[in-house]
């Protein structure tokens, strides 16, 4: 099983969620994060005190899927999140050792 972790632009949240649902992925966890990358930050000024905000609001999706669906999910996400501009974000993939459904102790693929 794989964990697909995608950092995307906040305004793409709904699009990515819908794209995942469209390919039958129902389980997902979303976190508000802040990210730094190639995208330039912005300047904020308070009473003349300027400062660069270089940690920008991003949204992190975490989706655990069976290994076989990995590429399909990656495509759904990139398709929905891409604008072609710097700051679109990244996807990181990890191995998952096990999954347990709390409600009924289902294990492994069954629990996804």
């Amino acid at each position: 099983m794989k964990k697909i972790e995608a950092i995307i632009q906040p305004h793409k949240l709904d699009d990515v969620k819908d794209a995942l649902k469209a390919i039958g992925i129902d389980g997902m966890t979303v976190t508000e994060v802040r990210g730094h990358g190639r995208q330039k930050g912005h300047k904020e000024v308070y009473r003349g005190q300027e400062y660069m905000v270089d940690l920008l609001p991003k949204v992190k999706f975490e989706v655990i899927v069976s290994a076989g669906r990995e590429s399909e999910v990656v495509q759904a996400i990139t398709g929905a999140a891409r604008t072609g501009a710097i700051g679109d974000g990244k996807i990181f993939i990890y191995d998952v050792a096990d999954v347990i459904r709390i409600r009924n102790d289902d294990r492994g693929e069954m629990a996804i």
Binding site: E44, V45, Y46, R47, G48, Q49, E50, Y51
Partner: protein, 454 residues
């Protein structure tokens, strides 16, 4: 409560029916009494509202304005500075404060005549206001004594020890505020506009309130030193939204502050109301435009800072100037305070956390001097027809104003420094580093401003 009115009504009815026909003389003297009560009702209605408005300036007005400007972890401790003064100053005022400010004494400080509020009752005290109860005057002035030390807290926010803050503001009230109030407004005061040695115009507290607090703020900022991380780490306001609400309430409440200082609901109150509003509006625009030009973007924080700067500067002038001069004073205050806060402060590098000096010290000084320029007898003929300000044909008034400014600066500088030294000995004035990192809400008060988890 209602019963009393009822009784009075019954008496009136009785009086009019029993005493078959009162003589005209009787009716005349009855009328003279009832017209005085009627006048008192109108003026007292306005003054009670004004007192309430000035209290609203401190809480929630200033508490929100300052509370929004600090970091989330210090929001309660900052609001507390304003709130607790609503309580502490009240008790001091009742015991001795009112007397030292407004009792008859020497040119520098009042006497003990009104200590424990003795002699301060429902009848007017014509020394101060002939058409409102003396108690109304007393409680109205109390509201000024509350907000003044609260203004200073903008300079020591996010790093002052609570016990030290309590001790310092208590002493400061006694040593700096009360003498200054007496000199300018008290019977026989040194700087009284009519009978003083130096006839200084300060309608609602440019020197007494804003210079004293603003200059003391500077001393506090220097004495306490910078907040950890300042200026290399960003310390943005945790909620400009709250500060905006606070600024609006300050604007609204300031009508009580300035127009209330007419101590009656006549045309002078209206004139001060208009000047106040125009000054605030012009200063908001002044700061905004300056910021737009200099920094590239006009900000909400700029607009509200500007309006406060304008309100400060128009305070001493509000009962002496016409509407367009009020606009000029506002514009000047907006631009000058903007430069002060964004350029001069950066240059000198002191950490006046919320710019109490930049706005109140500088805005108050500017306003006090411009009052000498624009004061005119056609608004408030204090001197029986003699010219008042520069535009009125009395350039010498500017000197009088400068004297008032210098005295208030000197008193604030020296008084505050000495008191901080003392408090530092007695309670300490600055929190420990780990307390500052944790935030004063937790370290001083054991609570947090927000628990937003679902």
């Amino acid at each position: 409560m209602i019963i009393r009115e009822k009784l009075m009504a019954l008496l009136l009815i009785a009086a009019s029916s029993l005493s078959a026909a009162p003589t005209p003389e009787q009716r005349l003297s009855d009328l003279e009494k009832s017209v005085a009560s009627a006048r008192l009702a109108g003026d007292n209605a306005w003054m009670l509202v004004s007192a309430a408005l000035v209290l609203m300036m401190t809480g929630p007005g200033l508490a929100l304005f300052y509370g929004g400007l600090v970091r989330r972890k210090n929001v309660l401790s900052t609001m507390m500075h304003s709130f607790i003064l609503m309580a502490v100053v009240t008790i001091i005022w009742a015991v001795i404060g009112y007397s030292l400010a407004f009792g008859e004494g020497n040119p520098f400080i009042g006497g003990f005549q009104f200590a424990g509020l003795s002699g301060v009752g429902g009848d007017p005290n014509p020394d101060y206001a002939a058409t409102i109860p003396h108690q109304t005057f007393m409680v109205y002035q109390l509201m000024f004594a509350i907000i003044t030390p609260a203004l200073i807290s903008g300079a020591f926010a996010e790093r002052m020890k609570f016990s030290g803050m309590l001790l310092f503001t208590t002493l400061w009230l006694l040593v700096v505020y009360l003498p200054m109030a007496h000199m300018v407004w008290g019977k026989g005061g040194l700087l009284g506009a009519v009978t003083g040695t130096f006839k200084c115009f300060d309608f609602a507290g440019g020197t007494v309130v804003h210079i004293t607090s603003g200059v003391s703020a500077l001393v506090c900022a220097l004495y306490l030193g910078k907040r950890k991380g300042y200026p290399h780490e960003p310390i943005p306001p945790h909620s400009v939204v709250l500060s905006t609400v606070g600024a609006c309430l300050l604007w609204v409440g300031w009508f009580g502050f300035n127009a209330g200082s007419a101590l009656a609901a006549g045309p002078l109150a209206t004139s001060a109301f208009v000047a106040t509003h125009f000054g605030a509006a012009a200063a908001a625009l002044g700061w905004l435009i300056a910021e737009w030009i200099v920094m590239g973007k006009p900000s909400m924080l700029g607009a509200i800072s500007g309006c406060v700067a304008g309100l400060v500067a128009i305070t001493p002038a509000s009962g002496f100037v016409k509407p367009f001069p009020a606009i000029v004073i506002g514009l000047a205050a907006g631009v000058v305070c903007f430069l002060m806060v964004t350029k001069v402060k950066q240059k000198f590098g002191y950490d006046d956390s919320l710019d109490a000096f930049g706005v109140h010290g500088i805005g108050g000084t500017l306003g006090a001097i411009l009052t000498g320029v624009f004061a005119t007898r056609s608004v408030n003929d204090l001197w029986g027809g003699k010219p008042m300000g520069l535009v009125d044909g009395n350039p010498g008034q500017i000197l009088n104003q400068v004297v008032g400014v210098l005295i208030s600066w000197a008193l604030a500088l020296v008084g505050t420094f000495v008191l901080l030294k003392i408090c530092d000995r007695l309670t300490g004035v600055r929190v420990k580093t780990n307390e500052e990192i944790q935030g004063l809400d937790l370290s001083m008060h054991g609570e947090e401003g927000y628990h937003l988890e679902a």
